[in-house]
Every structure is written in structure tokens, then in C-alpha cells.
């Protein structure tokens, strides 16, 4: 029996009830959310349940929605079941002032650096991570640059000294 998005959704609801929510399918990939306390339980269930078998973590990244008060930061996991060739997107959200989320690096070695990257850019504090420090940015940096509160420079600003930019 081929694994379908409906089967996955039903299995998840059967196991976690109303703790897994907001199921939707966009361009063929089933996505859903859960409370952040459950992220490891859900990932482990997806990994270990024989008929689900999402044993490959394709991608892990953060997103910042500044307008979603209480759920400003989101961690998105892209999982892949190779033998059934089906992808899955799973996300948990966390408030910006309390960014603790459990690490997935015990389950997937690949999550190690991806979580470090997410910490580096969004400041999500992965609890239990073996080596949570900045990876791409300099260690001295004291902010999390991909958060929306740090806009890129205004392209129309005129207070710059043109000579310094070869436009004098």
C-alpha cells in the first residue's frame, strides 16, 4: 500500500489527537504544526513508526513572523521518506522572548549544524544541543540578523558620502 498524505494525517491524528493541527497540502507536500513541546515526540514517531518511516531530515530552518504575537519564530522541518518517495513539512512555533525548542540532533546528526545555523540567524535556543554556537556569523555578534526587526538598508537613503562608494 502506497503511503499517501491522508494515511499520514490519519496516523498522526490517531496518535496525537488534537495536538497536531493545521494540516494543509501545498504543491503536493503535506504540512502540519504541533506545539513546540511535542516536536521531538512527533519527529520520533514519524521516524520510528514502520509505515511512516520519515528517516531523512532534508532541511531544517527558521522563519520569523513578527505579526504573530506569541508565535513569532517558527522552526520548519522538511522530512523525506525515501522508499515511498514522499515529503512532509512539519513546523513548531515559539514566542520570541522564550525561544527554547528541543533539539533534533539526537535523532538526526544532520540537524546539528542546521540547528546551529537557525540559532545563528534567529536565536532559537535548541535545548540539549551538543554545541550550540554561531556557525556562519562571527562569534561576537550580539543580534540575530534574519529576524524581521533588522531590515536591510534603505536603498533610497541619501545621507551616505558618495565619495566612499565610488560615486563622487
Amino acid at each position: 500500500m502506497a503511503l499517501t498524505n491522508e494515511t499520514i494525517q490519519n496516523k498522526l491524528i490517531e496518535k496525537f489527537g488534537d495536538q497536531v493541527l493545521n494540516f494543509s497540502t501545498a504543491s503536493g507536500i503535506l504540512s502540519f504544526e504541533s506545539p513546540k513541546e511535542l516536536n521531538l515526540k512527533v519527529l520520533q514517531y514519524l521516524y520510528e513508526e514502520p509505515i511512516l518511516g520519515f528517516t531523512f531530515l532534508t532541511d531544517l530552518c527558521g522563519v520569523n513572523y513578527p505579526d504573530n504575537t506569541g508565535a513569532e519564530l517558527v522552526v520548519v522541518y522538511h522530512l523525506h521518506n525515501f522508499s515511498e518517495n514522499i515529503r512532509l513539512r512539519f513546523s513548531v512555533s515559539t514566542p520570541i522572548d522564550e525561544t527554547a525548542v528541543f533539539t533534533a540532533s539526537k535523532l538526526f546528526e544532520s540537524a546539528n549544524w542546521m540547528e546551529r545555523e537557525t540559532y545563528d540567524f534567529f536565536g532559537i535556543n535548541f535545548i540539549g544541543h551538543p554545541n550550540l554556537k554561531r556557525i556562519l556569523n562571527v562569534d561576537e555578534m550580539d543580534y540575530f540578523p534574519l529576524r524581521k526587526q533588522y531590515p536591510l538598508e534603505d536603498q533610497t537613503r541619501i545621507d551616505k558620502d558618495d565619495e566612499m562608494f565610488g560615486r563622487g
Binding site: A26, S27, I29, T55, F56, L57, T58, D59, C61, V63, N64, V76, H78, F82, N85, R87, R89, F108, E109, S110, N112, W113, M114, E117, F121, I135, L136, N137, V138, P145, L146, L152
Partner: protein, 408 residues
């Protein structure tokens, strides 16, 4: 004078039996800047810590203020040994997101360019493995064929390394006859050269001794580490995005997915070599299919999507409407639909994914690149632990780490 048999350490210091060795930051040829802080016992590697980020350019932040076309040049600078794959991966992501369908001829032209890019990528990697094991000849010899590939790019898009090739919906111009002539020359000459190149290494005693059994990893660990591409296939897992989730009409082609068994440096070399033969075969099939188009179909090089495909340059310079459209498209004055998409292509060294979130504005709300290099470089310590220092160098080049992709 009293003879001192042993150096007396200052009080309170700890005697170390291993040496800390700082390798880099160096710029080893085209790979980019790497640093490793290694703990070595004699010549054996005890542990290492990789430092990355020396050429981090904040692409994901930049992309948040750029309309679709302005992101293409960013993708050039990911894996710059095969930029056309990145460009087209990005355009394919946009097309999937905007629900555009492309004519078959465009797909086939893209396949030709992407497979040429794969060859040039693998060629660099394999010949550099040769250089690091002491054989410089192969590297110099195959360079002229990379040059030929670059000339074909040049004929199609005007540039060589950071190509910015193609448009959303197709190519900027049709392939010229010169491009096809050069492609034919490549298809005629290159297989022979590749065979020679393979003969130089594959059964070479020194090369085999240096690469067999070094830098190996099991399939299970490789999957757990998120390996994709040739490095994963060298462990025996036949995962290839071109087969699993075909894009650009790869389902129309007949090709094999070569796999290895032990996942060591030698297997990675062999897998990449075998993939180059498959790429040649794909290009031949695609070229054949292109020649089968007749009449008006044989001139198609882009889809009819005026909202996203740039108008012709001569029109932009002479016609008001074309100029306005050009401006609107480049500046992204057409809002994107709301939604999100994850789309992947098989890059030179694995699954290159684009995760695009749009809130309906002119630029992506968030764009994340899944860079295969970044994910599998974490396994470097496990690959080289307990081995010789000189094997670590070979392992690093056979992983095909490209700093541009690693650091984004």
C-alpha cells in the same frame, strides 16, 4: 653542565600527548576558504573542528528584498562550479510556484545545460582528488574540456563562471548554431578523454592505495548525516532527485544511477566518473530529441509567459511597452501569489533545495537554500577520525566541498 633529559614543564601545566594543528584558513584552488583545528597524534587525526562561514554573504537576507530575477545572480554564487544548475533550480522553483508549464524543447535545452554543468562540476572534483593524491596531469588535461563547456555557456548566455543563465519560462535566446557545433565537438571528443582520464586513475596502484578505505562511511550513517548526491550514492543508496522527483522532463530520458558500496574516497571517485558517462548519454538523447522538433516548434526557446519572461532587448530599446514591462519585471512590480513551496533539483553535489515563502509581496518573505555541502560537511570529523592527516586532505577534496555553497 648538568644534562637535562626531559623538559621541565612549569608548575601546574598539563602534559599533552597530542598536538593541536591549525590548518587554514586556506584557499585550496577552487574550493574556497576552509579552516580545520585538528588534534593530531603523530600523523593520526584524533579529532577536528571545522570552522565555516569565511565567505558568508547573507544570501537569505538579501533575497528577502529582491524580486525573483534579482535572486538568480545570488544562486550563481552558491556552487560556482555548476552555477547553471543553481540558476535553473531557482527558475524551476519560481515556475512551479507560479504554475507555469514549459514547452518540451525548453526542458530539453535546460537538460543539456544542466548535464554539462554536472560534468564540469564532477570533472573539477575528480581531477582535484587526483591533484591531492599527487597526480597533476589529469587535472591539467581535462581542463580544456571544462573550457569547452564554458564556451558553450558563453554562447548561450554570454558569461562563463557565474552564468545567470536562463529566464523564468526558458532561455534568454535560442541556442546558436555555434553552440550546437561546440556541443557536437564536445560530445565527439570528450568521452575519449574521459576514458583516458579514468585509465590514469581508476587502476593506478598509488591512487587506489591512497583512496580505498579512506574517508568511508556506511549508508546508514550517511543518511543520518543528510548526505545526498554522489556522496550518498557512493555508499550504495540510489537516491537521485532527477529520478525521484523529475523536473525539466528528466522522466523522458533513459539513464542509470551509479552507486558504490563502501562510501570511501575511491567509491566517490568512481560514482562521479560513472555519472559523467550518464550525463553524456543524457545530453546525446536530449540533443537527438531537439533535432526531432520540426517547423515552428524547433524555434521555441521560452514559454509564452509575458508577465515573467523578459521582453526582447531590441524591443526594450525601441518600444515603450516593452521597456515598461522590462522595468516592471526586473523591479518586481507584479506581486507574487501567497503560499510556500519546497522545490529541489539534483545539484552537482546533492539535493539543492529552495524553500520559498511568499506573503503576496513583490519579494520572497523568506527564502532558504538547502545547500548539500553545508549539511554533509558535518560528517567530516567522523570520516577522517583515526586516519592519516594526508588522507584527510584527500577526503576533503573528494567530498567536493564548495565554500560558496557551504557559507551561502
Amino acid at each position: 653542565m648538568e644534562h637535562q633529559s626531559h623538559i621541565t614543564l612549569p608548575k601546574g601545566s598539563i602534559e599533552k600527548t597530542t598536538t593541536t594543528l591549525n590548518i587554514g584558513p586556506t584557499h585550496p584552488a577552487t574550493h574556497g576558504v576552509f579552516q580545520n583545528i585538528m588534534e593530531v597524534d603523530g600523523e593520526r587525526v584524533v579529532s577536528t573542528e571545522q570552522t565555516v562561514g569565511y565567505i558568508h554573504r547573507a544570501f537569505e537576507k538579501l533575497a528577502e528584498r529582491r524580486p525573483l530575477y534579482q535572486i538568480t545572480p545570488i544562486t550563481d554564487r552558491l556552487n560556482y562550479c555548476s552555477s547553471p544548475i543553481n540558476n535553473m533550480g531557482w527558475h524551476i522553483t519560481c515556475e512551479r510556484f507560479l504554475n507555469l508549464t514549459l514547452p518540451k524543447r525548453v526542458d530539453y535545452l535546460r537538460v543539456i545545460i544542466m548535464e554539462l554543468a554536472r560534468i564540469s562540476d564532477h570533472l573539477i572534483c575528480n581531477s582535484i582528488v587526483g591533484v591531492d593524491t599527487g597526480a597533476y596531469t589529469g587535472f591539467l588535461y581535462v581542463m580544456q574540456y571544462r573550457e569547452l563547456i564554458y564556451e558553450i555557456y558563453e554562447e548561450v548566455c554570454g558569461s562563463r563562471l557565474t552564468t545567470n543563465i536562463g529566464r523564468i519560462g526558458g532561455f534568454e535566446r535560442n541556442f546558436t548554431n555555434t553552440a550546437f557545433t561546440k556541443l557536437e565537438k564536445f560530445l565527439n571528443e570528450y568521452p575519449k578523454v574521459l576514458r583516458e582520464f579514468e585509465n590514469l586513475f581508476a587502476r593506478n596502484r598509488i591512487f587506489m592505495d591512497r583512496t580505498q578505505g579512506t574517508g568511508g562511511i556506511s549508508a546508514e550513517r550517511a543518511l543520518n548525516y543528510g548526505f545526498t548526491g554522489p556522496n550518498l550514492r557512493a555508499t550504495g543508496v540510489d537516491y537521485d532527485v532527477r529520478v525521484q522527483q523529475p523536473y525539466s522532463s528528466y522522466q523522458d530520458f533513459d539513464f542509470k544511477v551509479p552507486v558504490g558500496t563502501t562510501g570511501d574516497n575511491y567509491d566517490r571517485f568512481l560514482v562521479r566518473n560513472a555519472e559523467m558517462y550518464e550525463s553524456i548519454s543524457i545530453i546525446k538523447q536530449a540533443y537527438q530529441k531537439i533535432q526531432n522538433f520540426k517547423g515552428a516548434e524547433a524555434e521555441v526557446y521560452h514559454a509564452d509567459v509575458p508577465e515573467y519572461y523578459l521582453p526582447k532587448k531590441e524591443d526594450v530599446y525601441t518600444k515603450m511597452e516593452a521597456l515598461i514591462w522590462h522595468f516592471k519585471i526586473i523591479m518586481g512590480e507584479i506581486d507574487l501569489p501567497k503560499g510556500q513551496i519546497y522545490s529541489a533539483v539534483e545539484g552537482g553535489n546533492g539535493e539543492l533545495g529552495f524553500y520559498l515563502i511568499s506573503d503576496g509581496g513583490r519579494t520572497p518573505f523568506r527564502l532558504h537554500f538547502r545547500r548539500p555541502c553545508f549539511i554533509y560537511y558535518q560528517a567530516f570529523e567522523e570520516l577522517i577520525k583515526g586516519g592519516m592527516l594526508s588522507d584527510a586532505v584527500v577526503t576533503m577534496s573528494s567530498l567536493n566541498l564548495i565554500a560558496g555553497e557551504l557559507d551561502a
